[in-house]
Amino acid sequence: MSSPGLQGGRPAKVLVTKIGFDGHDRGSRIVAAFLRDAGMEVVYTGPWQTVENVVNLALQEDVDVIGISSLATDHLIVPKLMEALKTAGLGHIAVVVGGIVPDSEVGLLTDAGVAYVFHPGASRDQIVNTISGLAANARASA
C-alpha cells in the first residue's frame, strides 16, 4: 500500500500537542485525524503541556515530527522548545506550528528552527504533504 504516511519500516510518527494555558484543542484534534487518515501514527496528548513534557514525550516516543497547535500566543514559547529539543539531542525532529500566528512573528519561529508555520486556511493536502516530507527527512537524519 502506498501512502504518504509510510516512511521506510513504519508510518511517519507525529506528536500533536499544545503548550501553555490555552485549552482550545479542536484544531489539533482535526489535524490529528487528517494525519491518521493519511496513514500516519499520531501520538495525541491534549493541551496544557509544558516544554519539558513535550521533550520527554518526543524522546520516549521517538517521533519524527512535532506539531504544535497555538491559538492564543502559545507559539511564543516554541523557541524555548526548539532550544530544549537540541539540548536533549533531538535536533533532528522537525517542528511545525499551526493556528493563529501573526505574520510579524513567523520569523521569530523560523529563526528558532521551526520547519513550517500553517496559517488559517491551510488545506488538508498541504498539511499532510508538508508533514510527510518533513518526517522522511527527520527519519533519515535521526
Binding site: 501512502s3 509510510l6 521506510g8 490529528a32 491518521r36 495525541y44
Partner: protein, 327 residues
C-alpha cells in the same frame, strides 16, 4: 559529515551499551529499530538477551472505555511510591483503511511524563497478520533490558493476536466496569480465560458489588485452574483499591521464581519461538527456487498427489534438511 551505518555491528554495539546503561534516547531508538524491523534489529535482540528477565510483565486488557489507561496511570503512581521503576507499552489499533493511528493512551498518564522512573511507549497495532505479537515481544525485550521492575502492556484485548500477546505477560489483568451486562457477556466468552486478576474498575458506580458477585459466580463454575483468579475492585480515578491491587502484583513478581511461575514465564518464549520457526518455514516455502525439492513438493501438492497434512510434514522435514545443508 560521515555517518556510521546505523545497522552496522559497531553501531548496534554502541546502541546496546547505551541502552544497558539506562539512556532514554537509546531505549527509544532501540525500540524503533525492533518495531520497524530495521537493519541490525536481530543483532540488537541477540545482544541484549543475557540482560533480560528482570522485569515482571503484566498484561492489562479489557473493553474500550473501561478505564485501562486510567488504571495504568494510578498503578504507576502506586508502584512508584513503592520505589519501583515502570515501563508501559500501550497498544492502540491502526486504521484498517489508512494504516494510520491515533495513539491517545498517554492522555491519561500525563502526570508521569517527567518522571525518570517511568517510560511510556505507544505502539500502533499495524495491519500485518500475527505481526503484533512479534513486534510487541521485541519491544518488551528491549524495555526489559533497560531495567524496569514492571512492564505494563496495555491492549484492547480483542482479536487473536492480542490474546497471543497476553501469553507473554507473567500475569494478566482483565478489567470490567459495573452496570454493563453486555460487558460481562463479552469478557466471559474470550478474555476471561486469560485473567489472573479480574479488576472491577469504576467501583464507585452503582452495581459494582453485583458485578463482583457475577464474576465470582462465573469463576466458581470453572475448572480448578480458575481458582487462583482474584477479583478486586478499583476506582482508578481516585486511586481507591490500588494498594491492594499492587500487593497482588508484587506477590506475582515474587512468585516468578517458583516452579509454577517459571513454567508460566516460559509460555511467551515458547510462543515467540513457535512464531519465529513458523516464519522460517513459511519463508522457505514461498521463496523456494524452481525445481528445488521444496518446489517439487509444492507441485506435487498442487496436482493433488499428496495430502495437505503429509505435505506439510514433508515441508518441515525438507526445511530442516536445508538448514543442516551448510547454511
Amino acid at each position: 559529515m560521515t555517518r556510521i551505518d546505523p545497522g552496522s555491528a559497531e553501531a548496534v554495539a554502541v546502541l546496546v551499551s547505551r541502552l544497558l546503561s539506562g539512556e532514554t534516547r537509546a531505549l527509544a531508538k532501540a525500540i524503533t529499530k525492533v518495531e520497524c524491523g530495521e537493519a541490525g534489529a536481530a543483532a540488537l535482540l541477540a545482544a541484549i538477551q543475557p540482560h533480560l528477565g528482570h522485569a515482571t510483565v503484566l498484561g492489562i486488557t479489557g473493553p474500550p472505555g473501561v478505564g485501562k489507561s486510567t488504571l495504568i496511570d494510578a498503578l504507576i503512581a502506586e508502584l512508584r511510591c513503592r520505589g519501583k521503576r515502570v515501563g508501559v507499552l500501550a497498544v492502540d489499533p491502526s486504521s484498517p483503511v489508512s494504516g494510520g493511528a491515533i495513539l491517545g493512551d498517554r492522555v491519561r498518564m500525563a502526570r508521569h511524563t517527567g518522571d525518570a522512573g517511568v517510560f511510556v511507549r505507544s505502539l500502533a497495532s499495524r495491519g500485518h497478520l500475527g505481526g503484533l505479537f512479534r513486534t510487541a515481544w521485541g519491544v518488551i525485550q528491549v524495555m526489559d533490558a533497560a531495567g524496569p521492575d514492571y512492564i505494563l502492556l496495555e491492549t484492547v484485548g480483542t482479536g487473536q493476536s492480542e490474546v497471543e500477546i497476553c501469553d507473554y505477560a507473567h500475569a494478566n489483568l482483565v478489567l470490567c466496569a459495573p452496570g454493563l451486562g453486555d460487558d460481562i457477556q463479552a469478557i466471559k466468552s474470550g478474555i476471561l480465560e486469560i485473567a489472573d486478576i479480574l479488576v472491577v474498575n469504576k467501583a464507585d458506580q452503582p452495581n459494582a458489588a453485583t458485578t463482583v458477585s457475577q464474576l465470582q459466580g462465573m469463576l466458581g463454575l470453572r475448572s480448578a485452574a480458575a481458582s487462583g483468579v482474584s477479583v478486586v475492585t478499583t476506582t482508578a480515578s481516585t486511586g481507591e483499591g490500588l494498594p491492594a491491587l499492587a500487593d497482588l502484583i508484587e506477590a506475582i513478581a515474587r512468585d516468578r521464581t517458583t516452579p509454577a511461575g517459571r513454567r508460566r514465564g516460559s509460555r511467551g518464549a515458547r510462543r515467540a519461538l513457535a512464531n519465529a520457526a513458523g516464519d522460517r518455514v513459511r519463508e522457505r516455502a514461498l521463496q523456494a527456487e524452481d525445481s528445488s525439492p521444496i518446489d517439487a513438493l509444492c507441485e506435487r501438492f498442487a496436482r493433488g498427489e499428496i495430502a495437505l497434512d503429509a505435505a506439510a510434514a514433508e515441508l518441515v522435514r525438507l526445511v530442516a534438511d536445508g538448514e543442516d545443508g551448510g547454511e
